[in-house]
């Protein structure tokens, strides 16, 4: 096992709880951090695997091009943290390109390999609609799925999207939006969640979703320590 998981499994004071927002040097990550803090979750921007140690949950944000983000992520060595945290079933949330990078690849940058944590490749939005989808849109849960991340936000919550590419419609998809056809909006696999939309920019609904993630992290941490 890795250093990371050994540390995670050790009894820890709940007061030490923090969410690691992986900061690999792109864009505005403060907004994700602030949104977590607004809902009462201590969130730290971490720039190296060492700084991520002991985190009760992990967030991988991402904006811009797939290849550009992956290059920066690999240079920061935080790609290892991502893979180790997900392998160890630690609570993990990927946002936008942060979700897309978990797949095997993307049509946006075919020569760059994704992290391959989730099967399949990210595809360009199809149809005659404008790209990027840069708007608020309402999402619907996939039949039979009641993802914990989307608890308490109503049947068809409105959230903010900015993207030209999206993960494939596979069995991990728990919510979709309609934009020239069904588009992946959120995924769930064990303790791994991902949103193609930006919860940190989706007003009260988005804050509820982040609060759900914080609550999930806290309850999962609590159970490990029993």
């Amino acid at each position: 096992m890795t250093e990371l998981t050994v540390n995670q499994m050790s009894p820890a004071n709940q007061d030490d709880f923090f969410i690691a927002v992986l900061d690999y040097g792109i864009g505005n990550l403060r907004s994700a951090q602030k949104a977590f803090e607004f809902v009462g979750g201590r969130a730290c921007l971490v720039e190296s695997p060492a700084q991520a140690r002991g985190a009760g949950g992990f967030v991988l944000p991402g904006v811009g091009a797939f290849g550009h983000c992956l290059k920066a992520l690999r240079e920061s060595k935080l790609d290892r943290t991502v893979v180790e945290a997900i392998d160890a079933s630690l609570p993990f949330l990927g946002i936008c390109v942060g979700l897309q990078m978990l797949y095997e690849g993307s049509e946006e940058t075919p020569d760059v390999k994704g992290l391959g944590v989730i099967e399949g490749a990210v595809k360009q939005l199809s149809g005659t609609q404008k790209r990027p989808q840069m708007q608020w849109n309402c999402i619907s849960r996939t039949d039979g799925r009641r993802p914990a991340l989307l608890q308490g936000v109503g049947e068809n919550p409105w959230v903010y999207f900015v993207h030209s590419y999206a993960p494939p419609l596979s069995d991990v998809v728990v919510a979709t939006c309609n934009y020239g056809g069904d588009v992946t909006a959120a995924i769930e696999r064990d303790n791994l969640w991902g949103t193609q939309f930006h919860p940190e920019k989706s007003g009260a609904v988005g804050l509820s979703i982040l609060a759900n993630f914080v609550a999930l992290c806290r309850s999962l941490n609590f159970h490990w320590h029993l």
């Binding site: 505005n28 949104a35 550009h68 790209r131």
Partner: protein, 264 residues
């Protein structure tokens, strides 16, 4: 489904909102952070700050304003005015802006669009275009149009650029959207320039925000239904208290425009 964004725009000079704002219940009607939060609470889909400060001090103040605003704003924030370099963009994005709007500097050096897009992604590059009708001496909105010309420096200086060619060039260079202001309509409160907006929006593959001329709610629905706008920007009809964002959205929804409904 295509849903339009309704975007109030605040002109900020040295950290203060310049045009009077008639909101009920504000502690400080000149504080951009408080106003942005109030609009967000009403259901605004995004906020635009336009920095009209003329000085370097004013620009630095804008970074502080963005920092304070972003502390408690959880919808997209776009900041424009005086962005001339990747460093200017970085300062604003780091302070908490989600997008930066470039105008004059992009006309002078179009590659700036690609530089910012390359560094931070196309999604955060908005190109603001100030367009003015070029007619045979007539200035009315109904006058036959020869073409639309791009103006810079806050609409003071005409360029040789044709609006459509420039819009397409911006798109090729990596702009994520276009903020299109009709100088002819701006400030008239007589409605948006539908012809201009439609012509740009239907030929661009990136979203177009229509700006200039909003005077009533019908203007908002017409620029979407007839002008094919992807987003609508307005200032005085909201600031003056003529309509709330909630009323505007209710009207738009009743007119058949897809908008994010207000949920309290």
């Amino acid at each position: 489904m295509r849903c339009i964004r309704l975007i109030p725009c605040l002109d900020v000079d040295n950290g203060r909102v310049v045009k009077g704002v008639n909101f009920v219940g504000l502690r400080d009607a000149g504080d951009p952070a408080e106003l942005a939060a109030a609009y967000a609470d009403q259901g605004a889909d995004e906020i635009v700050f336009l920095d009209i400060s003329a000085s370097v001090e004013g620009r630095n103040t804008m970074v502080e304003t963005v920092t304070t605003t972003a502390e408690r704003l959880f919808i997209p924030l776009c900041v424009g005015g005086g962005v001339r370099s990747v460093d200017d963009a970085r300062r604003l994005l780091r302070a908490g802006a989600d997008k930066v709007a470039v105008n004059t500097a992009a006309v002078e050096r179009p590659f700036l669009i690609s530089e910012i897009a390359g560094e931070f992604g196309s999604q955060c590059v908005v190109v603001a275009i100030d367009a003015k009708r070029s007619t045979n001496g007539e200035t009315k909105l109904s006058a036959p149009v020869k073409s639309w010309r791009v103006y810079t420096h806050g609409g003071r200086i005409p360029t040789d650029l044709d609006v459509f060619k420039w819009a397409h060039k911006c798109q090729e260079l990596g702009a994520g959207e276009i903020l299109l202001t009709s100088m002819d309509a701006d400030g008239t409160r007589e409605g948006f320039d539908i012809e201009l907006t439609k012509a740009v929006s239907t030929t661009c593959s990136i979203p177009v925000i229509a700006s200039g001329g909003a005077g009533n709610l019908e203007h908002l629905s017409r620029i979407v239904l007839e002008g094919a706008a992807d987003a609508v920007l307005a200032a005085s009809i909201f600031h003056d208290g003529d309509y709330t964002i909630v009323q505007a959205k209710e009207y738009l929804a009743a007119s058949g425009v897809c908008v994010r409904p207000y949920i309290c």
